[in-house]
C-alpha cells in the first residue's frame, strides 16, 4: 500500500464541530487540487457530540489511490491540529503518532507554553501556533449544518481556514495557494499562513 499521509483534527463538540469538518474538507479539496488522492470524514467513535467534548475529524492524502476505505480512524497521524488549546490537558493528542510528527495548535500562547503540557513532545519535529480567533472572529457565525450532510453555508468560512493556512507550514501535502483557492475565508487562510508561529524541535 502506498504511503498515506494522515491528518487528525481535534475540535470541541458542537461549538467547533462544523469548523472542524470544514477544515477536513478544505484540506482535502486543496490536496485534491494539487493532484493527490484524498479522503475526509468525521469520526463515528466520538459521536454523538456534546458541548465541549473533544472530537476527532480526519483527512488522508496520498499520491496513489487510498485503499484504507473502511477504517474510520487515523491510526498513525503525521499531522495533528488542535482547534482549542485546552484539549492538550485532556487527552493524549499525539496518540498513534510516529517520531517526527507535526502539531498545529489554535492558541494565543507560545509554542513553548503549549509544549509544557505535552509529556510525549519528543515525538514532534515541529509545532505551529496560531491565534485563529484573533485572525478571524467566530462571532455572528451560526452553527447551521452542524449535523447535516449538506453544507448550508460556505465551506471554510471561519477559523478552519486560518488553522489550515497555518498547517501548510507543517507538510508539503498542503499548499497555501490551493488552500486559499478552495476556502471561503481567503483572507483568513492567508493570515493564518503568515501569522503562524513555527518552532522546529
Amino acid at each position: 500500500m502506498s504511503d498515506v499521509y494522515e491528518i487528525t483534527i481535534w475540535a470541541r463538540g458542537v461549538v467547533q464541530d462544523m469548523e472542524g469538518r470544514h477544515m477536513t474538507l478544505i484540506m482535502a479539496s486543496s490536496a485534491d487540487k494539487d493532484g493527490k488522492f484524498v479522503q475526509a470524514w468525521d469520526d463515528y467513535a466520538d459521536l454523538p457530540d456534546r458541548v465541549g467534548v473533544p472530537l476527532r475529524k480526519y483527512v488522508r492524502i496520498s499520491d496513489e489511490e487510498i485503499e484504507m476505505r473502511y477504517e474510520y480512524e487515523n491510526k498513525n497521524p503525521s499531522l495533528v491540529v488542535i482547534m482549542d488549546d485546552t484539549i492538550v490537558k485532556g487527552l493524549n493528542i499525539l496518540w498513534g503518532m510516529d517520531k517526527g510528527g507535526v502539531l498545529v495548535v489554535n492558541s494565543k500562547r507560545s509554542p513553548d507554553e503549549i509544549l509544557k503540557f505535552i509529556p510525549n513532545k519528543d515525538l514532534l519535529s515541529k509545532i505551529i501556533c496560531v491565534d485563529a480567533e484573533e485572525e478571524f472572529s467566530m462571532e455572528g457565525l451560526d452553527f447551521m449544518g452542524s449535523e447535516g450532510g449538506v453544507e448550508v453555508s460556505a465551506v471554510g468560512a471561519g477559523i478552519s481556514a486560518v488553522l489550515a493556512g497555518a498547517a501548510c507550514h507543517g507538510t508539503d501535502n498542503l499548499t497555501i495557494d490551493s488552500l486559499v483557492a478552495v476556502s471561503a475565508n481567503k483572507e483568513g487562510a492567508k493570515a493564518g499562513y503568515e501569522s503562524a508561529v513555527v518552532k522546529d524541535l
Binding site: 465541549g52 485546552t86 492538550v88 485532556g90 493524549n92
Partner: protein
C-alpha cells in the same frame, strides 16, 4: 440541606433548600465517565467571600463540588468538572470566577481516547 447543617451554620428558615429526597452522597467516583477534559475554563472559588450556601453543590450537574465540613470550605474535583459554569451563574455572592484551564499546571485529565 440536613437539619444538622442548617443548625450548625445558622441558616434561616427561608434560605433552607428543601430536598425531594435524601440520598447518601456518592462515595465512589466513576472513572469510566471522566468529563474533566471537556473543560476550557475552570471555576475558581474565592474562599474568603464564599458563604457556604451550597448552591454550587446543588446545581453542579457533575457533583463536582462538596463541602469539607472540617475545613468549612467548598472543595472542587478537577476530574469531573466540565467547565459549564452553572456554578458561577448560581453563586449568590459571585465568588466563583472562570479562568482559562491552561493557566493551571494541575488538573490534567489525560485520557488515551475521548471516551
Amino acid at each position: 440541606m440536613s437539619k444538622k447543617y442548617c443548625e450548625k451554620f445558622n441558616i434561616p428558615k427561608h434560605l433552607q433548600v428543601p430536598l425531594g429526597a435524601v440520598l447518601p452522597a456518592n462515595k465512589k467516583e466513576n472513572k469510566g465517565m471522566i468529563t474533566g477534559n471537556w473543560r476550557t475554563v475552570r471555576p475558581v472559588i474565592d474562599h474568603e467571600a464564599c458563604t457556604l450556601c451550597l448552591n454550587c453543590f446543588l446545581f453542579c450537574p457533575d457533583a463536582t463540588w462538596h463541602l469539607d465540613e472540617k475545613e468549612e470550605k467548598m472543595v472542587w474535583n478537577a476530574d469531573y468538572c466540565k467547565g459549564c459554569l452553572i456554578c458561577e451563574n448560581e453563586c449568590p455572592v459571585d465568588c466563583i470566577s472562570a479562568v482559562n484551564e491552561l493557566e493551571f499546571k494541575g488538573g490534567v485529565v489525560r485520557l488515551e481516547k475521548p471516551f
